[in-house]
Each structure stands twice: as structure tokens, then as C-alpha cells.
């Protein structure tokens, strides 16, 4: 089961679209649990939220074994700096774990037109599939048409596909089949 928790107000239609897409991508039931507040302890001096701390400090949600919890936030996230700099934080997931967070701060504004809303929803779905994929042990994929392709990649189109490629889909299905529950 995938449980969606919003850390900011989101349109119900967007959440419904996301639930449908996650169900199609992983074959798992998806539900919106509710809205929680952003943990203040995770906020850094620059106003961004430390992604790791956010997942540690956020109010827990009741979940069972193999349930995955996906948090949605509009706040900007930060990651620790690596050897070549800090990668853009579109989200963060505990690899093979149970919690992930997706930030919509990098998305194009939702707007009010049908087209812009559609683009926003598709991007939200793609990033959610990406980080839930990490929760199922998937790694990044070199194929720009796959949802597991890095979100900041220069080869990623402006309106990317929100589906897994054959290899990643097969791997996620295998992992889900082998899950304890």
C-alpha cells in the first residue's frame, strides 16, 4: 500500500490523479492519508529544509509492513554537499526503505489553464513514481523516457513521461512480489 501524506495544501484533483498513476505504475493500492505540518527542526538557515531531517522529524503515519509513505511538500529541500557539489533536491527517499518526500518547488507553476495543470500533474506523478521506485530498491536509469531517470538530467524533456521502462518495471514487480506481505 502507498500512503500519500501532504505537507502543504494540494488540489484534490491532483491527488486523485497521482493516486491513479501510482496504482497503475506499481499495482499497489494508494490512498491519501491526510495533511501534516512541516517539521521546524528540518528547516535550515537558508530557508530550505534538510530532506533527511524532514523524514526523521515529520509526524509519523500509521503504516503496516511493506507500506510506503510518500510525503508531498512545496518547500525547497536540501541535501548534504557531495564531492562535486550539491545535487538539486527534487526529493529524497530511503533506498529500500518506507518513506520518501517529493518537493514541488522545482516544478513549473501549476497555473489555472488546463494545459499547465496537466503538465503539473504529470510532473508530480513522474517524481512520485521516481521516489517510490527508490523505496522499492530501483536505481537511476539511463533512459530519459523512464521515470527513474534523474530529475535534473539535461536530457530529460520539459514534459517527461511518467512511466517506468521495461527493466525498471520488471525489477519493481519482482521486488513487490518478494515483499513479505
Amino acid at each position: 500500500m502507498i500512503r500519500i501524506v501532504t505537507l502543504a495544501p494540494y488540489d484534490e484533483g491532483d491527488i486523485a490523479f497521482l493516486s491513479r498513476t501510482l496504482f497503475q505504475a506499481f499495482g499497489l493500492g494508494t490512498e491519501h492519508v491526510g495533511t501534516r505540518g512541516l517539521p521546524k527542526a528540518a528547516e535550515g538557515k537558508d530557508g530550505r529544509h534538510d530532506a533527511q531531517k524532514l523524514l526523521d522529524e515529520v509526524t509519523p503515519v500509521r503504516a503496516f509492513a511493506d507500506d510506503k509513505v510518500l510525503y508531498l511538500t512545496s518547500a525547497e529541500l536540501s541535501l548534504p554537499e557531495g564531492p562535486l557539489g550539491e545535487p538539486p533536491a527534487w526529493g529524497f527517499a530511503l533506498q529500500d526503505g518506507d518513506r520518501a518526500v517529493v518537493s514541488t518547488s522545482f516544478f513549473a507553476p501549476r497555473g489555472v489553464t488546463e494545459a499547465s495543470i496537466e503538465i503539473f500533474r504529470r510532473r508530480l506523478a513522474r517524481e512520485s513514481i521516481h521516489f517510490v521506485g527508490h523505496l522499492w530498491g530501483l536505481h537511476h536509469c539511463y533512459d530519459a523516457r523512464c521515470a527513474m531517470h534523474p530529475s535534473w538530467s539535461p536530457t530529460l524533456p520539459a514534459d517527461p513521461e511518467f512511466d517506468l521502462d521495461a527493466f525498471c518495471r520488471e525489477k519493481s514487480e519482482r521486488r513487490i512480489r518478494m515483499a513479505k506481505t
Partner: protein, 381 residues
């Protein structure tokens, strides 16, 4: 900021690696005495493991001592016999300086992926086993750059995923960050976002693979001398001897005979050691410089009439025909030649009869070559 040029593909197998200089061998564990419980090591192709301790087990009536370790990823137990510790490529988790080199390697441009899948696969497997963390990074980068040209085949896609998994888990342990952040670091180096220019230093020297001996290059001089006759089952001295015989018999028999005559003059001294039962190879070197073109001409002269146009006869048959009597013999049909060659050998006729006629020429020429030489020598005398 230093500008870094493209990184060449690292698989040059004919170079001899110097073990102490090779970054791939940094941190290798050479004896079980170096291991303590709680140490974190990397088992090639398995990932990061934690040493639990030494353990004795009775296996097939023998008491063996093992190093017991648990794989961090899933807690699986790994037992390594103590004498095998040095040979399996067990190594310590990469240090921060090693890891920095890995990222600079990943960030450098790479425009020369290996296109031969056999070579690529063998190199990649070898790098994963013996290349250290840099070897794993090379596999990831090599396959990644190949994937930008064309989709990877299923097997290499698996290899790409598993090598990426090994690299990410080692980066994660080495830098003390969660695996997904480690993966972000790796991909940030591999495909930086648009507008970001990485401050790269020259990457470390690529892992050098020893490779199998047949891949090593021969010295140039040896290559020039080698005409590939050994692969055809030919002895150069034997052909030379045969050609010498031809020269004697074909003297004054037209154009081909003239060519053979020219040959005879050069080889004049060669038949003597052969007839004396000495080593033919010892006699070969002086004749070598002049012989090959002569024997090749002889072969060309003999080949055209006897062999069918679709299937040219091999060189030994031509040489044997020359030994028997040059061009005249060569013009006769193959079956007739076989029949003619057979009676010359006293012990062989029965065997020759048993064989089908078509196969006779193949066996015939090599067998016939020896008596022919004697005959040629006889004529000479």
C-alpha cells in the same frame, strides 16, 4: 578550475600493470591477519561486508578455518576460507581520497566506449572483480556512455544495474550518506544539470587489466617473419626442399620451369642438410629470404589447372605436385594424381585404397612430398 580532457577507454590489456602503483590494488587485503571483527570490507561483486570473526568448520572430513562476514545490504553470511582471503580480491572500503578520484573520473568526459561486446564484457567482469572501486566506476561510466549511443542489451543492462548498485553502496558507506543521496552524487557527476560546470581535477589512472596471454602483441620483427604457414600446417623448409626438387626436374620446361630454375640456384645448399637427416629448420634461415616468393609462384602455377575454381587447393598440395614433376603433374586430375602418389609409398597402398577417392588428394600431397624430395634429389645427382 582545471580543464580536463576526455578520458580514454581504459582497456589496454597488453600493458603490464605495476601492482604497487595501480590504484586498483590500494586497500587490498593480503592476509586474514589484517582483519578484525567489526571491520568493513568490500567483497568483489557482493558489496560491503562486516567481519564477524574467525570460525572453524568440519567439511568433508577436513577441519577448515574461515573468515565469517555478513553482507550489510541484506545480512547474508559469507564464509571465506583463510587461504583464499588474498586471492578473492577482498579489500577495504575506499578511502575519501580514493572516492574523490572516482568522482573526478565519473565527471570527466568519456567518448571512447568499447564497441566489441565480447571484449567489453570480459573487461567489465575483470574490472568488477579486481579493479577496486575505480574499476566499478569504470564499468558504470563505460556502460553509461555506451547507453547514450544505443540501448544496452538485456545482459549488460543487468550488469549496469548491479555495478551501479555496488558503486552506490560503497560510496554510501565511504561518505557516510544514505544510498539514494550517494546515487544522486554519482549521477550529478555523470550527468550534471544544464548550466552546471563541475570543477574537475585530472582523474586517476584507469585500472589496467592484465588480460590473457593470447591478447598480447607479438614483437614487430616476429610478425614480419611469420607468414602464417604454421597455421596451415606447413613447414617452410619442407616446401623449400620440394621446390628445389622441382627446379631440377622442370629445368628447361618453359616459363614455369625457368622460374623454378631461378629458385634452384638460391637453394642449392638447402637440400643437403635435409637429406643428411639434420634439422630442416636449421637449414631454413639462409633460404628464407629468397624462398617464399619462389614457392608462392610455384604454388600459383600448380593451383590453376588442378583445383576447381570454387575451391582453390591448399599450398601443400601445390608444393607436392611441384615435387612430383611440376606443371605436367599438376594438370592431371586429382584422382589420377592420388593413384600415382600412392604406389610410391610401399607401406601405404592398402590404406590409400580404403579411403574415398575424393579425400585422397588431401592426404596424398603431404605423404607424397617426402618420396618426391628423394626423387628430386636423385635426379639432381
Amino acid at each position: 578550475m582545471v580543464t580536463v580532457g576526455p578520458v580514454r577507454a581504459p582497456s589496454k590489456r597488453d600493458r603490464e600493470p605495476k601492482k604497487d602503483e595501480d590504484p586498483a590494488h590500494e586497500g587490498n587485503i593480503l592476509s586474514a591477519a589484517e582483519l578484525k571483527p567489526g571491520d568493513r570490507v568490500v567483497y568483489p561483486n557482493q558489496g560491503v561486508c562486516e567481519i564477524v570473526g574467525l570460525e572453524q568448520k568440519d567439511i568433508a572430513g577436513q577441519r577448515l578455518e574461515f573468515v565469517r562476514m555478513t553482507r550489510e545490504e541484506d545480512g547474508a553470511t559469507v564464509l571465506v576460507p583463510i587461504p583464499k582471503v588474498a586471492s578473492i580480491g577482498l579489500r577495504r572500503v575506499a578511502s575519501s581520497s580514493q572516492m574523490e578520484g572516482v568522482f573526478h573520473y565519473l565527471g570527466a568526459s568519456y567518448d571512447d566506449p568499447e564497441l566489441d561486446w565480447k571484449v567489453r564484457h570480459r573487461d567489465n567482469v575483470e574490472r568488477l572483480i579486481a579493479g577496486g572501486v575505480l574499476g566499478v566506476a569504470e564499468v558504470v561510466k563505460g556502460l553509461h556512455s555506451l547507453a547514450r549511443m544505443r540501448p544496452l542489451p538485456a545482459k549488460e543492462r543487468e550488469l549496469y544495474d548491479s555495478s551501479r548498485h555496488l558503486l552506490v553502496s560503497e560510496v554510501s558507506v565511504s561518505l557516510g550518506v544514505p544510498a539514494s543521496i550517494a546515487e544522486d552524487y554519482v549521477d550529478y557527476a555523470l550527468m550534471p544539470p544544464a548550466g552546471v560546470k563541475l570543477a574537475l581535477r585530472p582523474p586517476p589512472r584507469p585500472v589496467e587489466l592484465k588480460g590473457p596471454p593470447w591478447k598480447r602483441k607479438k614483437p614487430v620483427a616476429a610478425e614480419e617473419d611469420d607468414l602464417g604457414l604454421a597455421e596451415l600446417g606447413l613447414d617452410l623448409a619442407e616446401i623449400e626442399g620440394a621446390a628445389a626438387g622441382v627446379g631440377g626436374s622442370a629445368e628447361g620446361e618453359g616459363e614455369d620451369g625457368e622460374k623454378a630454375e631461378g629458385t634452384e640456384k638460391v637453394v642449392d645448399a638447402a637440400p643437403a642438410p635435409v637429406a643428411a637427416g639434420g634439422s630442416r629448420k636449421a637449414a631454413a634461415p639462409p633460404a628464407r629470404a629468397a624462398k617464399p616468393p619462389a614457392s608462392a609462384k610455384g604454388a600459383k602455377a600448380g593451383r590453376a589447372p588442378a583445383a576447381s575454381p570454387a575451391k582453390p587447393e591448399p599450398l601443400p598440395a601445390a608444393a607436392a605436385r611441384l615435387a612430383r614433376g611440376g606443371v605436367k603433374g599438376a594438370r592431371k586430375p586429382a584422382a589420377a594424381r592420388a593413384a600415382r602418389a600412392a604406389p610410391k609409398k610401399a607401406a601405404r597402398p592398402a590404406r590409400a585404397e580404403k579411403k574415398p577417392v575424393k579425400k585422397a588428394p588431401r592426404a596424398g600431397p603431404t605423404k607424397a612430398a617426402r618420396p618426391a624430395k628423394k626423387a628430386g634429389g636423385g635426379k639432381k645427382k
